[in-house]
Amino acid sequence: MSRISVERVKMLVRKDLLLEFRSKAAMGELLVYVISTVFVCYRAFHSISSVPVWNALFWIIILFSSINAVSRSFYRESRAKRIYYYQIAGPEEIILSKIIFNFLLVLFLCLITLPLYSLFLGNLADDLWMFLLVAILASGAFSSILTLISAIASKSDQGPGLTAILTFPVILPLLMVTLKASKNAMDGIDTSQYTNLLVVMLAFNVVSVALSYILFPYLWRD
């Protein structure tokens, strides 16, 4: 097993980022997906004055758009290209680079959804910085769970649709913690009151990255 080289991981992340931003289709698909979802919510609700509803809707949008964004991550490349990457880098490097890339992607999704969503539906977040911190932790955990599961789904004969089914039960606990933490942030409750929630979210990050790191080498080669 080859040693992990930070250089190679960086290079792989750069490669993914370049591919993503260069292709108008990929970027446009994400943006339009988010914008149209927010707009549909706006047409359906007009404006939301209740904090729990605002919060729940926001995270549901993030959940679905990140499933949509991440589930492609192992499909975009052709088989031949994939074999090429596998020859120049170890499986650990590939999964780490994919997780980092997807983390940036999901975080980006959060960051464009938040202003849009606030613009259309009103901003109810009291403690914006804490809300952002929760968003960062959540995107870390979302992306690492989703990356491994989309790798699993890419091995099946069903196509990326399977990612969603496999993800929901695994991600549900994380989603509940996230909802709770972000609701506290929105209510402007003092941070010391819910540090334990943040620690749990951090634990989800650590555990899911560690598991992907251990398990992915078994998946990558047919």
Binding site: I152, L162, L215
Partner: protein, 204 residues
């Protein structure tokens, strides 16, 4: 063990409490079902790791069958729990972290079987399913370990509710309870064992 536990569950001396009344007897079924389910899923998890380490397809088959039997126990556990909840809390389903945890556990293993059925090539199926099994079991443990500490639960022993261990459980119930746990687990293992033997015969 069950030969001892079952008659005791129906007839044995129980601590009759307000609200619970005789439904406390359900303790022998509902609670023990969950213990057995977790043990079975644990076995399934263990065999999934074994498969990834050694690459023996028998381990994968065992892992699947343990998960199947675990599912049956989980389903029975949820039904008995709903009956019990209907008596004590007034509704078969309440918003409670343990119930959500149970639902998540069953959903995970349903997804696991969907994944298994979606791949036709056997080695790849075994590998992929094992990876999902390990990943989701760890997440499940994380969930079971953490959730009840964050949200209050209506279950005994959580959120200021006294546990059964405190005063509700009469000492005469204790041996019956433990032997029921062991008994159901052994029944589960035996069922899985029978299925494994049968499957192995089919392959031969």
């Amino acid at each position: 063990m069950l030969i001892y536990a079952l008659p005791m569950a129906w007839l044995g001396e129980v601590s009759v409490q307000v609200i619970l009344h005789e439904t406390i007897r359900n303790l022998y079924f509902h609670v023990t079902m969950w213990f057995a389910m977790i043990f079975l899923f644990g076995f399934s998890f263990f065999h999934a790791i074994q498969f990834l380490r050694k690459g023996n397809l028998i381990s994968d088959m065992k892992s699947t069958l343990y998960a199947e039997v675990g599912m049956v126990f989980g389903a029975v556990g949820i039904v008995t729990g709903m009956i019990w909840a209907n008596f004590t809390w007034g509704a078969p389903w309440v918003n409670d972290p343990k119930l959500n945890g149970a639902a998540v556990a069953l959903l995970i293993y349903i997804a696991y079987f969907i994944l298994k059925s979606s791949i036709t090539e056997s080695i790849r199926r075994a590998k992929t399913a094992s990876v999902y099994n390990i990943f989701s079991f760890v997440m499940l443990i994380l969930l079971i370990g953490i959730m009840p500490r964050i949200n209050d639960s209506l279950h005994p022993g959580n959120g200021g509710n006294p546990g059964f261990g405190g005063y509700a459980l009469k000492n005469s119930m204790r041996p019956v309870f433990y032997s029921a746990v062991v008994g159901w687990t052994i029944i589960g293992l035996w069922l899985a064992e029978v299925k494994i033997k049968w499957k192995s015969k089919m392959i031969e």
